[in-house]
């Protein structure tokens, strides 16, 4: 995977709201009375929130399924997420390890997972296999967000962030 990707659409689902559409709806726009307050500047922000939700709820999809149409984004983490990426990656690998070995009992297996999921590229810090994984979780999380938005664009920012908060907060 040369670039991060977003979930553009789903085959034969005209009503599907892709990540791009949601981003355009809530991203910062200087003259718009609602989005002039938005801290969202890039589609990667939506990707990030979706990944959090995906990891929290362990929701993932098979991104190689040809029904999911993807679009290209940035090759690296955006500036907005540069401070976040290490903790995010740590959260992702810990999630994967716990799914396989909750008590961290098999050192060599854990080292093997770490080798597979963490990457050579220090700016991205994640391997190709890891990239595919986090996309699976991000897209899974995005579908969960849409479900909680009743598959409709949110009325305003507060409504959107309330949905996100409900999905990621402690229960």
């Amino acid at each position: 995977m040369n670039r991060f990707q977003y979930l553009k659409t789903i085959k034969d689902n005209d009503k599907f709201l892709g990540m791009e559409i949601l981003t355009k709806h809530i991203e910062f726009k200087k003259n718009n009375p609602t989005t002039m307050f938005s801290p969202i500047n890039d589609i990667m922000d939506i990707f990030y929130l979706s990944l959090l939700v995906g990891l929290k709820h362990d929701k993932k999809i098979d991104i190689n399924d040809t029904n999911y149409i993807r679009g290209d984004m940035t090759p690296n983490w955006t500036d907005n997420l540069s401070e976040t990426k290490d903790i995010l990656i740590a959260l992702y690998v810990s999630h994967i390890i716990e799914k396989k070995d909750k008590n961290y009992s098999d050192k060599s297996e854990i080292q093997k997972i770490l080798n597979q999921k963490l990457g050579k590229n220090p700016t991205r810090s994640i391997s190709d296999e890891g990239m595919i994984d986090i996309h699976s979780y991000a897209f899974g999380g995005y579908l969960e967000i849409l479900k909680n938005l009743n598959n409709k664009l949110p009325n305003d920012l507060l409504a959107f962030f309330s949905v996100i908060n409900n999905l990621i907060k402690d229960h």
Partner: protein, 657 residues
């Protein structure tokens, strides 16, 4: 070549059936034609434009019908203009058939007499196209537009015919398509090739549609911005005139501004917190601490390098001295997988350090932050409602209409902003022909044309065309740069003269006129620079053509007016005709008279059909301008007293106002 307008005559049109004489042969190359508002200044400007360039195929039905006299409803209207070209008399008659909605011409010249059509000498025709005419016969709005939108560069492109480069590009594209359609090398199936061609045609159409829509939207945005500026001024003027209300509005705006900042900060804070997953959820925190702790317990990462295993595989014998077999190598490779690589080791060290650092902080309650945002949002709504109540309470129709229109303009500008954002989006691998980005569509088109090129063995033609297009692109850019720099230099040379007290220089012309050291000038400063731009842009060494301006100095301050008058009087060799409103006289016409030794035609013209014009007729009588009973208009020539005392807001004697 010297072109001068002598007179014009109208019949059956939305201006009175009159004749206006402005013969410049007596040394009066400047004419000020004053008409009350709504008496046909703009219509006259249009009719003059239509006389010099064949508009018969340009005008739409509605344009023609808008010229018909609604009182007499005559089916044919005529506009006849007498001109001199190098002292030779010519007459051009524009004939408007309101039944068929057509425009036709008749030209009388000194050699061939009267003939059908618009037959001006070829030497003039090569200069006179729609663009040139619409820039030389203009209104002040054009000058304002030069500082917004792309009007300045558009004018250069059109007047210097740089659009020819684009036309050549289109011819080249068409040629390539033709060649591709003619050839077929059989490299792919006929069906696949047809599909590619279909895609290509679809993309070409889409590209054209997008370019047209963009041009339309750029224009619309420029017009909306100008309208917004004017409405804002009206709104502010009304607010300022109502002192108590102004204080209330200022106070309310300040509160709204604070509330908006507060809300923005709320969202920014919320999002900055949410970007730290370890602090927003205890489950995440626990998981991460657990991860770090367990890796420590397992002594991960260890400083054992995988390079050791790589060296071992390469060696001929094992550490124990046995020769290295394939089975042994495979086992070593398997073991290597479970040893951390140097890269993983490095990344893991960073991750563990970050977790240790962040885990010390307290987990945040995002729900509380959201409640706080909701409260701020509520406060903003209250302040906005209060502000709206103040505005709604202003008992002024003009104000309310301005506010209403401004809201609509803002809404539309938002929509247009979205369009432009999408229009310039960069191509991605997954673009589709339905995208609305010109870059994406052009990229898809290039890919498709290349594929067809390969399939039809026309790559060579394609490559040659690409080279020619590159050369054309460079030439176009260099030409535009050269013309622009030359214009900037010429304008700046004149600045100390036209702006003696506040020298504002032009920095560049990039789409619009860009000023040195400031975002924008005042209306007066912009108008003076705009005039200079047009004068320099339209300056043709072999053509001296009239300048006609509708409302030349409306809304300008006294200094701007007098400096523009000085420019016209002292630095414009062309004939100058100003269609002015009474309020434009002061500091403009007097300066023109002074600087030209009174060589200015001072004309007042108005119709006498409307009831309201009775007062104007009486006023004229006071200055010995007597109405001909057979005519439904009054035209006064060079009656200075009447010209300077003419006013339209005459109070009647019995008026209680």
């Amino acid at each position: 070549m010297d072109v001068r307008i002598i007179s014009w005559k109208t019949k059956g049109l939305r201006v009175p059936d009159w004749e206006i004489n402005i013969d410049p042969t007596n040394g009066k190359k400047t004419a000020m034609i004053m008409m009350p508002s709504g008496m046909g200044k703009t219509t006259t400007l249009k009719l003059l434009r239509y006389s010099f360039c064949d508009y018969s195929k340009i005008l739409q039905k509605k344009d023609i019908l808008s010229l018909q006299n609604l009182n007499t409803k005559e089916l044919v209207g005529e506009f006849t203009i007498n001109i001199k070209i190098d002292n030779q008399k010519y007459r051009i008659k524009s004939i408007f058939d309101f039944n068929k909605c057509t425009l036709s011409y008749e030209t009388t010249d000194p050699i061939d007499g009267t003939n059908k059509g618009l037959n001006l000498p070829d030497e003039i025709n090569k200069y006179l196209d729609q663009e040139y005419i619409e820039k030389t016969f203009f209104d002040l709005e054009l000058v304002e537009k030069l500082f917004e939108s792309t009007a300045a560069t558009d004018s250069i492109n059109k007047l210097y015919k740089l659009y020819y480069f684009k036309q050549i590009n289109n011819f080249l594209d068409e040629y390539l398509v033709k060649k591709q359609n003619e050839s077929s090398s059989g490299k792919i199936s006929k069906k696949d090739l047809e599909e590619l061609k279909l895609n290509r045609d679809k993309l070409i159409n889409k590209q054209k549609q997008l370019v047209d829509l963009n041009e339309k939207n750029v224009n619309e945005l420029a017009n909306l911005k100008l309208e917004k500026k004017k409405l804002d001024k009206i709104k502010n003027d009304i607010e300022n005139s109502k002192k108590t209300i102004k204080e209330k509005i200022d106070n309310s705006r300040e509160k709204i501004s604070f509330a908006k900042n507060d809300l923005k900060e709320g969202f920014t804070e919320f999002y900055s917190k949410i970007r730290n997953p370890i602090l927003i959820n205890n489950e995440f925190k626990k998981k991460l601490i657990n991860f770090e702790k367990n890796l420590n317990n397992l002594k991960i990462p260890e400083s054992v390098g995988r390079a050791f295993f790589d060296d071992l595989i390469k060696s001929k014998s094992c550490l124990c001295g046995h020769e290295m077999s394939d089975d042994m190598k495979e086992n070593i490779l398997k073991s290597k997988e479970s040893i951390l690589s140097e890269d993983t080791w490095l990344i893991l060290s960073v991750l563990k350090h970050k977790i240790r650092k962040e885990a010390e902080k307290e987990t945040l309650n995002l729900t509380n932050l959201l409640a706080n945002i909701a409260e701020k949002k509520g406060k903003l709504s209250i302040e906005e409602r209060k502000g709206n109540e103040i505005v709604d309470g202003i008992d002024d129709n003009k104000y309310q209409e301005a506010v209403k229109r401004l809201n609509k303009i803002d809404e539309r500008i938002n929509q247009l902003d979205l369009f432009f954002k999408e229009y310039y989006e960069a191509p991605k691998r997954t673009d589709s022909p339905d995208d609305n980005s010109i870059k994406k569509i052009s990229n898809l088109l290039e890919i498709t044309i290349n594929k067809i090129g390969e399939a039809t063995a026309t790559e060579n033609i394609s490559k040659k065309i690409t080279i020619i297009k590159d050369i054309l692109k460079q030439t176009e850019k260099k030409s535009l740069d050269f013309i622009t720099n030359d214009l900037v230099e010429k304008i700046n040379k004149e600045i100390p003269r036209v702006m003696p007290f506040e020298k504002i220089f032009v920095k560049d012309i990039k789409n619009r006129i860009v000023l040195e050291d400031r975002e924008e000038g005042s209306a007066g400063q912009q108008a003076r620079i705009g005039y200079l731009f047009l004068i320099k842009l339209l300056d043709r060494p072999n053509l001296n053509f009239p300048f006609i301006v509708d409302s030349p100095v409306t809304a300008l301050d006294d200094i701007s007016r007098s400096e523009i008058a000085t420019t016209i009087a002292s630095h414009l060799n062309n004939q100058y005709i100003g269609l002015i409103l009474p309020k434009e006289r002061e500091d403009f016409v007097d300066v023109l008279e002074e600087k030209t030794n009174n060589k200015v035609h001072l004309i007042v013209a108005f119709n006498t059909i409307d009831k309201e014009t009775k007062k104007l007729v009486n006023l004229a009588k006071e200055y010995d301008v007597i109405k001909d009973p057979d005519k439904n208009y009054i035209i006064s020539y060079d009656n200075k007293d009447f010209f300077w005392n003419f006013k339209t807001n005459i109070k009647s004697e019995n008026s209680n106002e």
